[in-house]
Amino acid sequence: MPIEIEHVTYDYMPGTPSQVRALDDVCMTIRDGEFLGLIGPTGSGKSTLIQHLNGLLVPTSGRVLIDGLDTRAKGTDLRKLRQKVGLVFQYPEEQVFEETVFEDIAFGPKNLGVLGEEIEARVREAIALVGLPESLLQRSPFELSGGQLRRVALAGVLAMRPEVLVLDEPTAGLDPLGKREILGHIRRLHERGLTVVMVSHNMEDVAKLADRLVVLDHGRIVLDGTPREVFSHGELLESIGLDIPDVTKMMKELRKRGWPVRTDVLTLEEAYEEISGYLAGTKVGGPR
């Protein structure tokens, strides 16, 4: 189910003195099975863009086609689209409201008209996907830890069985362990065939997980490519207030100091290979 974004422009408060152009002629296609990382400085339009992916916002001009359906067209059933494109907002745990974890996760399926046992099945399936024990289902959401609550919120969207999962900064505020766990679950969901779109301020995370990165600045796409391609534009990224992963930064610095190492390195393991390979080379083959 591809999502096509064609020349999308979006203005908040159009026609008032405080009009803001949040998106400016954005074009891109989200392909099936892709893991797309969306990065950009504060206010660059990331949250605005992802709300277009399930019709919560519709373009001021241009159009968004989800599985060929125009979100602006009269006949389009937006609720159906929202089921297919599951959107998890930032700090989703602040939005739980039901008395039990079960009820909260069941909220989505119930709205979709799912009934009885099917709801049970969906809820159990969803918590299994995010690695929560069934013993939590009857607890109040307010008794859970931050990391658990975050997973409940994620399960609430997964219970609608979406084909595309869109996440706005899913790891903000979590400790390193909680973060690793959530990212692990997201990675596994992607491996099971879900298309994933993830907004993040953490360059390391997107470098590791995404197979494509889109960089937004002032509502425009400034870069679009594989993480390696994108992070090779270190200066551009820095000029708009972003960063490149520390590993990449280190390799670039080494290169400057005359090391013949690759600079498009994104993981610790790759860096280790490069550095130890070179050091071994100088020891064995180099002039002594």
Binding site: P176, L177, G241
Partner: protein
């Protein structure tokens, strides 16, 4: 060491939330620590380990269930010290939106000094000095609503600076910021620490922010379980992962290289230090 050198001291500090000790949540279970004047200390630890609770003891927003906390020798339990402690130890919180009082930047910065009953002319001076110190002087008439997260946090820091504190305690001030915002805040803090000698206590989940500190304190299940220089702390790889914490990638790379027999110094923690270290290694072989 004499009293004046010690900015903050916690002695077997216990804090229990709830009606009484038996039924409540023990967030701090006997913390002992000491922060020297002029130090830049980072506190790390998993969610729920008691970092925020500890921070709130440093300016008497919470009082010990047992044990005691001294701020420049003043006991937080002594009612008479309350306002002087809060002035001396300023506090910045995680969510910039929830700590702005006023709808204009300079009015917000003035809020602290106004509470202290300082004369209007002097408040003006302090506000403009504080905004300059955080590089926000051009925004004095702006509405906080229109600032970026990093800018809002700098305004919050200015609001504290205007009270002329000796210690600033920051509870995850960078958690909600983008890379530039984080950089702005971190640079501001290190400048204040170096140039004005302000003691900084910085709570964070970002290990790469902790490597720049003078000292790192690790909280786990309500106790300060480890304290030392970043190099000392981050070399405890096993303990850290047991506590659910991360090790900065430079340290992990160093570990991998050491395992392969290269003599990489443990004191290399930042990218720059590691690059220097590797170059040294290369020229020595």
């Amino acid at each position: 060491m004499n009293e004046e050198n010690r900015a903050v001291v916690a002695e077997t500090l216990v804090h229990t939330y709830g009606p009484d000790e038996s039924s409540g949540v023990t967030a701090l279970a006997g913390v002992d620590l000491e922060i020297k004047q002029g130090e830049f200390v980072c506190i790390i630890g998993p969610n729920g380990s008691g970092k925020s609770t500890l921070a709130r003891h440093f300016n008497a927003l919470l009082l010990p269930t047992s044990g005691r906390v001294l701020v420049f020798g003043m006991d937080t339990k002594d009612e008479r010290n309350l306002w002087e402690i809060r002035r001396t130890a300023g506090m910045v919180f995680q969510n910039p939106d929830n700590q702005m009082v006023a709808t204009v930047v300079e009015e917000d910065v003035a809020f602290g000094p106004e509470n202290l009953g300082i004369k209007p002319e002097e408040i003006r001076q302090r506000v403009s000095d504080a905004l300059k110190a955080v590089g926000m002087e051009d925004f004095s008439r702006a509405s906080p609503h229109f600032l970026s997260g990093g800018q809002k946090q700098r305004v919050a820091i200015a609001g504290i600076l205007a009270m002329m504190p000796s210690v600033i305690v920051l509870d995850e001030p960078t958690a909600m910021l983008d890379p530039r915002g984080r950089r702005e805040v971190m640079e501001t803090l290190s400048r204040l620490n170096k140039e004005k000698g302000i003691t900084v206590v910085h709570i964070t989940h970002h290990m790469d922010e902790a490597v720049h500190a003078d000292r790192v304190i690790v909280m786990y299940e309500g106790k300060a379980v480890l304290s030392g220089s970043p190099a000392e702390v981050f070399s405890q790889t096993e303990d850290l992962s047991k506590w659910g914490l991360d090790v900065p990638f430079v340290e992990r790379l160093g570990d991998m290289l050491r395992k392969s027999g290269y003599e990489v110094s443990r004191s290399a923690l930042t990218v720059e230090e590691m690059v220097d270290e590797l170059c040294r290694l290369r020229s020595s072989t």
